[in-house]
């Protein structure tokens, strides 16, 4: 609704879109990079672009998905421009974290979690791409097919990615969900 109003030049609708989404965008951006200033800059650029090109934008019933995806693209571009970013961020940005690396991470974390029981630690221990997918699906309520599109993966790979993450998180729940 606000998206359509915004497209027709309604600045109040534009501000509502901004205010409704800036927090999830910021939170999501910080899953991709640790640099809040960079995330803010990208959010600023993105909204300026949206307003300036609003007539050419297509309609979307899910502005949140649109905004998060666009933010990810912006961050990827910005991160790949910074030639001295850390390896972790680079590989995330270009979407080529090797599978072996991911599996190794989980195994390592799983042994570690014998003593670290809290869900938070488990979540922090996930590889970044798993954290990102978990955040998008279980915090931002973005459907798996859209996550696949955003993260440039195929649908089944996203399900596999999240499933691995859930298995790793299981330990955090063995105590908390005994009602069976």
């Amino acid at each position: 609704m606000d998206w359509i109003r915004m497209k027709s030049g309604d600045l109040a609708a534009f501000e509502r879109l901004y205010r409704a989404h800036v927090q999830p965008m910021m939170r999501y951006g910080l899953k991709i990079t640790d640099d809040p200033a960079l995330v803010q800059d990208c959010i600023q650029d993105l909204f300026e672009e949206i307003w300036n090109t609003r007539q050419q934008l297509s309609d979307t019933p899910y502005p949140k998905f649109y905004l998060l995806r666009a933010l990810r693209n912006k961050l990827s571009k910005a991160l790949s421009k910074q030639s001295f970013v850390s390896n972790g961020e680079m590989s995330l940005a270009s979407g080529d974290q090797p599978v072996e690396y991911v599996e190794l991470e989980i195994v390592a974390r799983e042994t570690e979690t014998q003593n670290r029981e809290t869900l938070r630690n488990l979540l922090d221990g996930l590889p970044r791409r798993q954290q990102e997918a978990i955040h998008l699906r279980f915090y931002d309520n973005i459907p798996y097919e859209n996550i696949a599109e955003m993260m440039d993966m195929n649908y089944q790979s996203v399900l596999n990615l999240v499933q691995r993450a859930l298995k790793a998180l299981r330990k955090g729940f063995s105590v908390k969900a005994p009602r069976q």
């Binding site: 501000e15 205010r19 803010q40 650029d45 300026e48 955040h135 279980f138 729940f173 069976q180």
Partner: protein, 358 residues
């Protein structure tokens, strides 16, 4: 046990299930409720999957901190400045306000309103401690005729063509403060606890409750009083210390640029805007759907009002938009439909259980 966990994961890999847990308005709700009711196993699975999902969501909520309100506002201020620039050529400061104002003019010609809190580039108000509690609302009359509007305190303003007022969204500071450019007619609700100030380029008008016209367009700056009385100061004067020009009915106080002082003289002109005010008083709702009333409030008070239209679809209200403040109005409405309201810098949220069908 393993099988049970696998099934929980299968649920969490199902978009429809996740949507049901996260989205209070999920269209899959009835499906999953029925599914959980089918058997005890299903109910346990759904319960466990739900708990797991909610805990993850909660952890994600706690892990990241929300951006502070000021940063959210500041960032939007920068975006607003940015969209005033036609091309992306460096970021220059001073001219942007003008460009933004031009954009506003165009937009509001379509009958909209807008709300923002940018960096305030207008001149500082000397001698006045500025407190800004909620975001600033700017209302510009881009129509060909004059336009009537309500302020949050219930005061009414008739904006002449091209005039602009701005004030804080909820007007919840210790003073009611309005900035004006162009010509406007004010009908101010008396409230000695919260005096009403109008700032123009050269003058400050202090009001206790009265009706009068202020002109602040280009060279001419004047105040003509219809009823009551107002005090007028030169901008930059210390309001507590200096003597004000008291302006009485049928008087006009204007800024004399040559002398840089205020001159008060008698005024025989008519206040044509008073008839416009009368029209506003005719805004009456009789057994109207509450959504209609709220939309009218949203429009007249220029404040976003959020409510669930489905919940309140059976609620009807009889009401006249009079001199009451927005808050008084909301109290009456929510009492009638057994709901509650919250005011924040985002606007107003109305919540309740709706009304029974009549």
């Amino acid at each position: 046990m393993h099988l049970h966990n696998d099934k929980i994961e299968a649920l969490l890999l199902d978009n429809r299930f996740v949507d049901w847990v996260l989205n209070p308005e999920s269209r899959y709700a009835s499906y999953w409720e029925a599914w959980a009711a089918e058997s005890e196993t299903n109910a346990t699975l759904a319960g466990n999957a739900r708990t797991m999902l909610q805990e993850i969501a909660m952890e994600e909520e706690y892990a990241g901190a929300d951006m502070p309100e000021e940063s959210v506002n500041a960032l939007f201020g920068r975006i607003r400045e940015g969209i005033g620039r036609p091309e992306k050529t460096g970021r220059m400061k001073p001219l942007r306000w003008v460009a933004a104002a031009a954009a506003i003019a165009l937009l509001l010609a379509a009958g909209g309103w807008l709300l923002f809190r940018g960096e305030d580039t207008s001149q500082p108000l000397a001698g006045i401690t500025k407190e800004q509690v909620s975001p600033e609302v700017v209302r510009f009359n881009g129509n060909s005729g004059s336009q009537a509007l309500f302020l949050p305190d219930g005061s009414r303003v008739i904006l002449a063509k091209g005039a602009r007022v701005s004030y804080s969204l909820l007007m919840d500071g210790s003073k009611r403060e309005v900035k004006l450019s162009g010509e406007a007619f004010f009908d101010v609700v008396p409230n000695p606890q919260q005096p009403f100030y109008i700032y123009t380029d050269k003058m400050v008008v202090k009001v206790l409750g009265t009706s009068f016209r202020v002109t602040a367009s280009g060279k001419e700056e004047s105040v003509a009083v219809s009823t009551g009385k107002v005090s007028v100061y030169l901008k930059g004067q210390d309001l507590e210390q200096s003597a004000a020009s008291i302006v009485l009915p049928r008087q006009l106080c204007r800024y004399e640029e040559r002398l840089d002082e205020l001159v008060t003289e008698s005024y025989a002109g008519a206040f044509t805007q008073e008839t416009e005010l009368e029209k506003l008083k005719a805004l009456t709702f009789e057994e109207a759907p509450v959504a209609e009333v709220l939309l009218a409030l949203e429009k007249h008070y220029a404040i976003p009002i959020k409510f669930n239209a489905t919940t309140f679809e059976n609620c009807y209200i009889t009401l006249t938009l009079g001199n009451e403040s927005l808050e008084e109005m909301l109290k009456v409405i929510t009492r009638t439909i057994d709901a509650s309201y919250t005011m924040s810098t985002y606007g107003i949220l109305i919540e309740g259980n709706g009304c029974r069908e009549q």
